[in-house]
């Protein structure tokens, strides 16, 4: 593996190496660069379209699978369909994420369409980090779509991180949860320059005892802009909570469009949203400990996105 590709991979998965006992499928410029199956995790390429099927056995407990995707140069558009079949009782961490590098004037794009089918009482922690790099003028574009189908008692956790680097992103996440199924989505975004980020969450809580928690923390700096759209439907005796906290700096713009729909008398849905600049008293407190205003800002942003 070339050094630049290796460093892109390390940044996406936030590790020096993929652990020896983990399954993986590394996708680079639309092709499978490397793959490994394990006893409980089988990865097979799709026959009808680009992408892979990942089967996780119910025997898998606290196991990991890595499926990073890399676009290493300008002028390439990657489109991939990945389906995850998680058997009942499985407990797995999926480290995904995407790195796009622009080294010319054409755009580098990645479109990843992921579907998760969680069996009863299965647990998935899905980590997805977006990274944009390179000195080219072409846009770095990442548009992920995620669908989650949670059988009774299943638990899906999604953590997405995009800190600088990506010029344009449109993230669409949908989930349908049955009895006692739970989903938690934690999103962190920081945009700068003229970047644009759109996030859309749509959750159907169809089962009694099902629950959803959407947490978005975002920072829009310079001339960047962001749009947060959430749509939570309580169709049973369920609980849903979404919160969107955004900090705007410079000429940054953030819009939040939360919707909650209760279609059942026992649906309990809450939405909280706050958008604003860094609070003056937070800056003053840290400055009173000896930090400069700039250092105080950095501390506050780092904590906010932690």
């Amino acid at each position: 593996m070339e050094d630049n590709v290796k460093s892109m991979l390390q940044e996406v998965i936030e590790r020096q190496e993929i652990p020896e006992n983990a399954a993986y499928n590394i996708r680079s410029d639309g092709k499978a660069a490397a793959r490994r199956n394990t006893k409980h995790i089988q990865i097979t390429p799709k026959k009808d379209k680009p992408g892979i099927d990942i089967h996780v056995s119910g025997e898998a407990q606290k196991e990991e699978v890595f499926i990073p995707a890399l676009v290493t140069h300008s002028g390439f558009t990657d489109l991939v369909y990945n389906d995850f079949y998680i058997e009942p009782g499985a407990d797995v961490t999926i480290v995904a994420g995407c790195s796009v590098c622009s080294n010319g004037c054409d755009a580098s794009e990645h479109h990843g369409i992921h579907r998760f089918f969680l069996g009863e009482n299965a647990h998935v922690l899905y980590l997805e980090k977006h990274v944009g790099s390179g000195e080219g003028t072409g846009e770095r574009i990442i548009n992920p779509e995620t669908e989650v189908y949670g059988d009774p008692g299943s638990y899906m956790e999604i953590e997405t991180t995009q800190i600088r680097g990506v010029d344009s992103t449109n993230r669409v996440s949908r989930a349908v949860m049955q009895d006692n199924a739970k989903i938690e989505i934690r999103e962190k975004i920081l945009t700068h320059g003229k970047q644009y980020a759109r996030t859309e969450f749509s959750v159907d809580l169809n089962g009694n005892g099902s629950s959803a928690r959407l947490i978005s923390r975002s920072v829009a700096t310079e001339q960047s802009s962001q749009l947060f759209v959430s749509n939570m439907n309580g169709n049973a005796d369920c609980a849903g909570h979404s919160e969107c906290d955004a900090i705007i700096m410079d000429e940054g713009k953030v819009s939040a469009q939360p919707e909650i729909h209760a279609e059942h008398l026992d649906a309990k849905l809450i939405h909280e949203a706050s958008i604003g600049r860094i609070a003056g008293d937070q800056l003053m407190k840290l400055m009173s400990l000896g930090l400069t205003e700039k250092e105080a800002e950095e501390w506050i942003i780092r904590g906010f996105l932690k």
Binding site: M287, L289, E293, G303, F304
Partner: protein
């Protein structure tokens, strides 16, 4: 030594919040400012720390005019300020604040020491975020612990008793009694509490933006306590 010379401050339509306020806080002295609500006490504290700028007058710290200096510059010169209403953050922990205050990375035991001093079970708090989950009393104690960690030449506490129930505050009195031994500097406390007044070297009574009286505790306190009707210094009932 801190010296305020003819400090005046107005805010919008509210003229005369401070009217020609002058006083000094000598080195290694424990000075308490007391007086009725709305009298300008907190404004004085904020002006000394640099959070607000006076309309006129001068502030000297160790002989240097600091009136035009920023909050950061004053902090680095050795002025610390504990807020009356402590600020909450997302993602910043108690340990982060203590380390920022002390200016260095601390081992866990060292960082915890400051929390123990203000009566908190350190293990339960050191890694907690300084966010909305903390009660008013908890965050107030943390604010005091952070001020202790600064070990400044001048430590300002704005109503340390605010938000802490009377019973807990009695335990905190010990912290303030030993403060000078630890800090080796001057202490300026805004307070209504008789127990705090009792350990002051000097007391300044501020009312309606002006100093009504000031002097050694032995002279000022007896007058305050005689004036039972004065709302600004309630006596304790024990």
């Amino acid at each position: 030594m801190l010296e305020l010379q003819n400090i005046c401050f107005s805010a919008g339509d509210h003229e005369g919040i401070l009217k020609n306020v002058s006083f000094t806080v000598p080195d290694n002295r424990f000075v308490v400012i007391t007086g009725p609500n709305g009298g300008g006490k907190s404004t004085i504290a904020r002006i000394i720390a640099g959070l607000q700028t006076p309309d006129s007058g001068r502030i000297l710290f160790n002989g240097e005019d600091i009136t035009g200096l920023s909050i950061t510059e004053r902090a680095r010169m050795g002025i610390s300020y504990a807020f009356q209403q402590p600020v909450r953050f997302k993602g910043i922990t108690v340990r982060d604040l203590i380390e920022l205050a002390s200016g260095e990375k601390l081992d866990r035991d060292h960082a915890c020491k400051y929390l123990v001093e203000v009566g908190l079970c350190a293990a339960n708090y050191i890694d907690r975020e300084v966010n909305e989950s903390l009660s008013g009393g908890e965050i107030k104690r943390i604010e005091i612990a952070v001020a202790l960690a600064r070990k400044s030449a001048l430590s300002i506490f704005d109503e340390p008793e605010a938000g802490i129930d009377l019973w807990s505050f009695r335990n905190l009195i010990g912290v303030f009694e030993h403060l000078q031994d630890q800090l080796h500097g001057s202490i300026l406390i805004i307070s209504h509490q008789e127990r705090i007044l009792n350990i002051a070297d000097e007391i300044i009574v501020l009312a309606n933006g002006s100093i009504r009286t000031m002097g050694p505790r032995e002279e000022v306190l007896p007058h305050l306590l005689k004036e039972e009707s004065q709302a600004f210094c309630p006596r304790e009932t024990n």
